[in-house]
Amino acid sequence: MAGLAGSDRSVSPRPLDHALAFAVLLAAVLVPATFFARLETAREQSASEDWRALAVARHVLAGGNGEPALAATARAVGTGGVPGLSAIFLQTSGGTDDFGIAVPAQLLALTPDGRRADLSRDLDGRVKEAAGRARSSAAEGGDGASCIDGGPVAPLLCAVATRAGTVAGVLAARQDVGAPFHWAAAGGLLGAVLLFLAAWKRPARHPGLPAAGIALAVAAAGALGMLLEGQGRVDAAIATETTLAGLLGAATAPLPPHAPALAASFLLSTALAAALLAGAAQKPLAHVVSDFRGRPFLYAAIAPAMIGMILLIFVPFFMGVYLAFLDNDRSFVGLANFVEILAPSGTSDTNFYLTLGVTVLWTALNVVLHVSIGLGLALILSDARLRGKAIYRVLLIVPWAIPNYITALVWKWIFNTQYGPANALLALLGVAPVDWLGRSFVTNFAANLATNTWLGFPFMMVISLGALQSIPADLYEAAEMDGAGRFARFRHVTLPLLKPALVPAIVLGTIWTFNMFNVVYLVSGGAPDNQTNILITEAYRAFRVLKNYGLAAAYSLIIFFILAAYTMVTNRVTKAAESVYE
C-alpha cells in the first residue's frame, strides 16, 4: 500500500532535497521580481519609443507634402538609423466638408528606402485609426499626437496631426528590452547551479546560510547589471533640437536610466526577502521535496494546480505588495502610502477610520439581520405539520439564485426617487417621497442594507434549516418531560446543536459581507461623498477614480491583514467551540 491513505513518512532530507528546495525558493521570489523589473523597463522604454517615433513624425510633417519630398525625408530618416523603422506615412488634408471639418485625402506610405510601402488591410485600418485620433486631438486643441501600441507582435504606430488636418506618422518595431532581465536571469541560474553543486558535494549543516549568501550575490549582480545598463544614457536623451541631425540624435538615443534604477532597487529588495525566506523556509521545504521525490505520482498530481496558483496568485500578490510602496510614477516612497491611509493629513483623499467604522457597522448589522431573519424563517419552516414548506423554501431562496450585481441594480431602481416602488409605498402610506440615494448618509446606508439583507438571508435560512432537521426529536421530548418550557428548549437544545453549523456559516457570511463590493458600489456608489463606502469599495475608488495604484495597493494590503487577523481569531474560537461539543 505504498503511499495510499494515511502513510505518514518522515525521511530526513538529502542534500539534493536542500538544493531543490533552495532552487524553488529562489525561483518563487526572483522570478516575479525579474518579471516585474522587465515590465518596468518595458514600460519606460515604450514611453521613450513613443516619443522617438513622434519626433520622427514631426520631422516628416515639416519635410513637405509631395511624394518626392516625402521620399527624400524617408531616405534621410532611414539613413539616420532610427531603430526598427519600417515605414513613414503622410495624409494631407483634402479640404473641409460643409460643416468645416477636415476631410482626409489619400494616404501615402513610404519605406525607409523611399519606395511605396505595401500596407496590409489590417495595418491600413490601424494607420487610419491613429491618424483619426491624432486629427481629433489636434482639432480639440491637444498636442495632435497619438500612438497605438501593437504589443509584442504588431508594430508601434505613432501619428502627429496639424490643426489644418495633415497627418504624418511612423511605423516601427518595438525594441527588445530583455537585456537587464537576461542579466538577472543568467545570474539566478548560475547561483542555482553553484548551490546545487555545493549542496550535492557536502551536506551543509546550515544550508540556509550559504543559500542566503548566494541569493544576495546573484541579485546584487543582476541589479548592478541593470544599473550599468542604465548609466550614461541621460545626456544623450536630453539633447533635443529641431534640425534633422539633432532630432535623429535625440530620437535614436536610448532610454533614460529611471527604469533600470528602479528595477535594480526592486530586485535588490526582493533578493533580501529571498535570502530571509531561504534561511527560514528551506528546511521545512526540503522535507516536502524529500517526501515528494519518492512518490512521483504526487508530483504530477499537484504540480499543475500549484504552478497555476503560484503564477496567478502568488506572483500578483508579491507585485501588489511591492506596488504598495511605490507612487504613481513607480518611484519608491517607502511607507508613504500607508501613512496617508492610517495617519491622514488634511489633504488626504480618503478617510480610513470613517470607512473602517462604516464597514464594521455594515458587516455587523447585515450579519445580525441575516441570521435573525434566516433562523426565524427556518424555525417556522421546520414545523412538521406546516403545509407547503417545500414551496416556501424554493420561493424564499430566489434572492440567492439571482446574480448579485443584478439584484443590486434592481434595488437601485427600487430606491429611485422618481420611479422607485420604495417611494410609491411611502406615498401609499401618505409619506412624502424620500431622495434615498441623495445627500443623506442614513438613507443611502439604509438602501444598501435593505439590498444586502434581501440578498443574504436565504443562505442563513438554508444552513439553519439543514441543521434543525438533523436534531433528533427525542431530545425535545426528553427536555419537555424534564419540564423545559418553549424558550428553555430553544436555549438549551436547539441553539447548542445549531452552533456547529451556524458558527462557520456566520464566519463565512461575515467575510462575504465585509467584501460585498457589488451592493455598495452599485446601489449607493458611496454617496454621499464616499461616506457609505466600505473598505473594499474605497480601495477600488483609489484604484479607478483617484488612479493612485500605490495607495490602492496599500489599501488592499491593509484589508488583507484585517481579514487575515479575523480568520485567525475565528479559527481559534470555532475550534474551541467545537471541542466543547465533541
Binding site: 499537484i302 417556522i380 439571482i402 434543525l468
Partner: protein, 289 residues
C-alpha cells in the same frame, strides 16, 4: 425527516395560521422585486411611467427584449451575439482550466498524507476567501504589460484565480466521501496510483465533477467587477458589463436593463435551483467537520 419541532410541540390552529401569514408576507417581500423586474422588462417605454407598486404590466410588449438582443456595432455586425459568445467562451474556458488543474490535486490532497499538505490546503482555502479586488491592481498591471487587457484569455486567467481553489476544495470534499476500499483493491491488483485514479476514481466522480464545473461556470458567468474593469472595448464586453452600462451615470435605461437582466439571469437561476442542494453541502462540508 424527523418530525422535530424545536419551537414547541403543541401548536394551535391559530399558531399555524400565524406562521402562514408570516411566511406569505416574507415570500411576497422576496418575490416583489422579481415581479417588478419582469413588469419593467415587458413594458414598452410609453406604458412604463412613474412609480407603482403593482407587479402587473399595463401593456405587454417585447420591445425592450428586441432592442437588447438586436444591438449592432458600427460595422453592422451583431453586437449582442458577440457579447453573449464572449460570456460563454470565458465561462467555459475558466471552468475547463479550473477543473483540469484541480482534479488530480484534489485527489492527492484527499488521499495522501504528505509534508506540506496542511499548508497547501490552507493556501487554497485562504485564496478563496480573499476578495478578487485585492488581486485586481497587480493583475491589472500585469495584464496591461502583457497586452491581455480586453482579451478573453486575460479574463480567463483572472477568473482562474478563484475557479482553481474553488474546484480543488469542492472536489477534495467529494473525494473524501468515496470509500477507499475500491482503490485499495485496485492497488492490490497491481495498479499504479495514476491508473487507480484514472480507471477507478475518475469514473465514480463524474457527477461531482459535473456539478463543480457547473458552479464554476455560474461564478464566471455572474462575475461583474473584474470584467467591468478589465474590458473597455464594446466587442470584448461580457454580458454583465452591458447590463451595468444600461444603468449608466447619465443615461439610465431601466426598461432595457430589466429585459437584459431577465435574459442573462434566467439560465443561471434555473441552474442554481437544479444544483442548490449540492452547493450547501459543498460549502459547509469542509467547515463543519
Amino acid at each position: 425527516m424527523s418530525d422535530a419541532n424545536p419551537a414547541g410541540r403543541r401548536v394551535s390552529r391559530t399558531g399555524l395560521a400565524t406562521r402562514h401569514v408570516v411566511l406569505v408576507a416574507v415570500t411576497l417581500c422576496t418575490l416583489m422585486p422579481v415581479a417588478w423586474v419582469v413588469k419593467m422588462a415587458l413594458s414598452d417605454s410609453q406604458s412604463f411611467q412613474g412609480a407603482s407598486l403593482s407587479p402587473i404590466p399595463e401593456a405587454v410588449s417585447l420591445q425592450n427584449a428586441a432592442e437588447v438582443t438586436g444591438t449592432t456595432d458600427a460595422d453592422g455586425s451583431w453586437l449582442f451575439g458577440r457579447q453573449a459568445l464572449n460570456s460563454v467562451i470565458v465561462s467555459v474556458f475558466t471552468t475547463l482550466f479550473g477543473i483540469t488543474v484541480a482534479c488530480t490535486a484534489a485527489y492527492a490532497f484527499s488521499r495522501f498524507r504528505f509534508a506540506g499538505r496542511r499548508a497547501g490546503l490552507f493556501l487554497f482555502l485562504v485564496s478563496q476567501m480573499f476578495p478578487g479586488i485585492m488581486m485586481m491592481i497587480p493583475l491589472y498591471v500585469i495584464m496591461e504589460a502583457l497586452h491581455l487587457l480586453d482579451t478573453m484569455l486575460g479574463l480567463v486567467l483572472v477568473y482562474s484565480t478563484t475557479s482553481v481553489p474553488f474546484s480543488v476544495w469542492m472536489l477534495k470534499g467529494y473525494f473524501d466521501t468515496i470509500p477507499k476500499d475500491l482503490e485499495e483493491a485496485a492497488v492490490i491488483d497491481g495498479a499504479s496510483p495514476a491508473r487507480t485514479f484514472w480507471t477507478v476514481v475518475l469514473p465514480l466522480s463524474l457527477p461531482a465533477i459535473a456539478i463543480t464545473a457547473l458552479f464554476s461556470f455560474m461564478t464566471a458567468w455572474n462575475e461583474f467587477v473584474l470584467a467591468y474593469t478589465f474590458l473597455s472595448r464594446q466587442s470584448a464586453f461580457t454580458l454583465p458589463v452591458i447590463i451595468r452600462n444600461y444603468v449608466g451615470e447619465h443615461d439610465v435605461r431601466w426598461g432595457l436593463f430589466a429585459a437584459a437582466s431577465l435574459i442573462v439571469s434566467t439560465p443561471v437561476v434555473a441552474l442554481f435551483f437544479a444544483l442548490q442542494r449540492y452547493l450547501v453541502g459543498g460549502l459547509t462540508a469542509g467547515a463543519v467537520k
